[in-house]
Amino acid sequence: MEVFQYVLRKLLAGIPLVLGVTLISFVLIVYFGPDKTYELLGKNPTADEIAEIRSQLGYDQPFVTRYMDYLREIVTLDFGSSESTDEKVSSILARTVPTSIALAIPGFVLGNLLGVVLALVAAYYRGFWVDKFIMGFAAVGMSISFLIAIIGFQILFSSSDGLDLLPVRGWDMSTPLQYIRYVTVPTLATVFVALGYNTRFYRAVIVEEMTRDHVRTARAFGVPPVQLFYRNILKNSMIPIVTRIMFSIPVIVISGSLLLESYFGIPGVGKVTYDAIVTGDQPILKAVVVLTAVLFVIAQLLADICYRVVDPRVSLK
């Protein structure tokens, strides 16, 4: 019950953020966005024709009215149709969002899970060769750009110069096997790069936790190493780790899927957005911007609830 009220309160508190984003996107994309009047008119239009088209497009309405129309579109999830394909935006999203999620999740989960595991091992053997090896690997992942990693893995797995095992572009998740064939290479590239950053960060967090007073106390009471690692070090490290994971969600969704989808020719939201930016497809851009803001609010909410789970000092009040 307490959690339910909290979620409700947080969602309400997220409304101003979403409103702010809609206002900005309205001003930039719609109000001062491309003017379609002359696209729709023939040569040498008369002043009357211009005025008529403008009124059809709603351009003659005052700012507030137009903004309200825009908000109504958002609330009813009716974003209109794509200007280039005429497909309804809602059906475009229904088609592409699941693809993007299926593409992003394996890399996201593995990148964090492996990051924590490798960081634990490195922290435990800190200063020894295991630590140096892991951190060297992380440094490579961190210094190689995402693009290079993508191209490298494509050559390795999907070209005649490499193993030539997996498809280089495209997407199919009609069967689990097909899904694995298509998701593997993008996932490897994501994990490789994500591990670089994650491992370093998580190792620093864990090493710091290892030097805390409560760890010394636990040892002074004979706590064996495995329990010390789990109850004292890992459980306390989860607080900064959860923070990082939660804040990385929107970044992954936006930048990760944009790059991955365009380089692997995968028809996800990222690809659609990229194309919409290139062609100036307003209805799609409006939808994506607003949905991203909503995603931020939800990620924030999830983060707060996760904090409560890992840290009893945080109250949901």
Binding site: F221, V223, K235
Partner: protein
């Protein structure tokens, strides 16, 4: 205090603890020796940084390593040497035979577990109690250290308790398995003055009740006077004076001890006079002068003091050992 006595509970001999630092090897504890008998209280005194905590941690094999290590010496406890004992053996002893409580009550407990869970863990591990037995023992122990409503408090998280209460929880946890030796590292320093007195009183009362020996680490000689039978005064990692409390307060032999005593405010004094402080600064452990480390601050310093460090020697016809060429009469 003779080193040949073998009925001591704990015998520390020539303990040397070193830290590997960027600027070289730092010797935090240098040749420390003392004995504690069952039920006895020994005060370990000295200014901040003189090696008290490191000495205390050595008793549980807890010198942070790396960078630290016990370079030499022995710590005989109940017939076995803790210095050469392996981790498994030490884990059996930690919290059951020898317990330690720390200076920082605010951070010493695990913030993400209830205090009851942390206390039960110790009891279930060392005493092989069931969860239910451990729970009721935990509540009993909380009651013993003066925590009101222990049955409710046992389910609190550390952050729900004040510093004084947290230190009581630490004490309850430390005593829960009936250890033979308690190492109390400045247990009241971080608390406010009224709480300090209450917590200290509690420790001393429980120590008598449990018949434990205790090493009470403090920088406050006044506390030592009230609670200890013996005192060891440290300076720059070395023992400068070791004696019974009566002898120490009646006639401090080492100029440093004398200086510390002179700087304790006395309630019996009619006027509040300006207390003398020992002039000068504690030398850097990485760059100790040749000879006596106290020489720069000592009013009795002679030429030979600067040539070779004085050894800790038993003064004739007394029970006091002192490391000084020119001890007070």
């Amino acid at each position: 205090m003779a080193s040949t006595e073998n009925n001591a509970l704990l015998s520390v001999r020539d303990l040397v603890v070193e830290f590997e630092t960027d600027q070289g090897v730092l010797r935090a504890v240098d040749g420390v020796s003392f004995d504690i008998h069952p039920g006895e209280t020994l005060g370990l005194v000295g200014e901040s940084g003189c090696g008290k905590t490191v000495t205390g941690l050595s008793m549980l094999g807890l010198v942070p390593s790396p960078p630290g290590r016990i370079a030499s010496g022995s710590i005989m406890f109940d017939g076995s040497d803790l210095v050469s004992m392996d981790e498994t053996g030490l884990r059996e002893i930690r919290g059951s035979q020898i317990s330690m409580i720390f200076q920082e009550p605010m951070t010493a407990l695990n913030p993400v577990f209830r205090i009851g869970s942390q206390m039960r863990d110790v009891l279930q591990r060392h005493q092989k109690l069931t969860r239910r037995q451990a729970h009721s023992t935990a509540i009993e122990m909380l009651a013993k250290v003066g925590i009101p409503e222990p049955a409710g408090r046992v389910d609190d998280y550390p952050h729900q308790l004040s510093g004084g209460m947290r230190q009581r929880v630490m004490i309850a946890m430390a005593l829960s398995c009936g250890p033979k030796l308690l190492v109390a590292d400045e247990p009241t320093t971080a608390l406010d003055v009224t709480t300090q007195a209450q917590v200290l009183e509690q420790v001393v009362r429980l120590q008598k009740e449990f018949g434990m020996a205790m090493i009470l680490i403090t920088h406050d000689l006044g506390v030592v006077a009230e609670t200890c039978q013996q005192a060891v005064v440290m300076y720059c990692g070395r023992i400068v004076e070791r004696s019974s409390i009566e002898a120490l307060f009646a006639s401090p032999r080492h100029p440093y001890t004398a200086g510390l005593l002179a700087s304790i405010p006395r309630v019996t004094d009619e006027r509040q006079e300006v207390l003398p402080v020992i002039p000068g600064m504690v030398p850097d452990l990485l760059h100790l002068p040749q000879g006596c480390a106290f020489a720069e601050r000592c009013s009795r310093v002679r030429d030979r003091c600067r040539q070779k460090s004085p050894r800790l020697e038993l003064l004739q016809s007394t029970q006091t050992s002192v490391a000084c060429y020119e001890p007070n009469a």
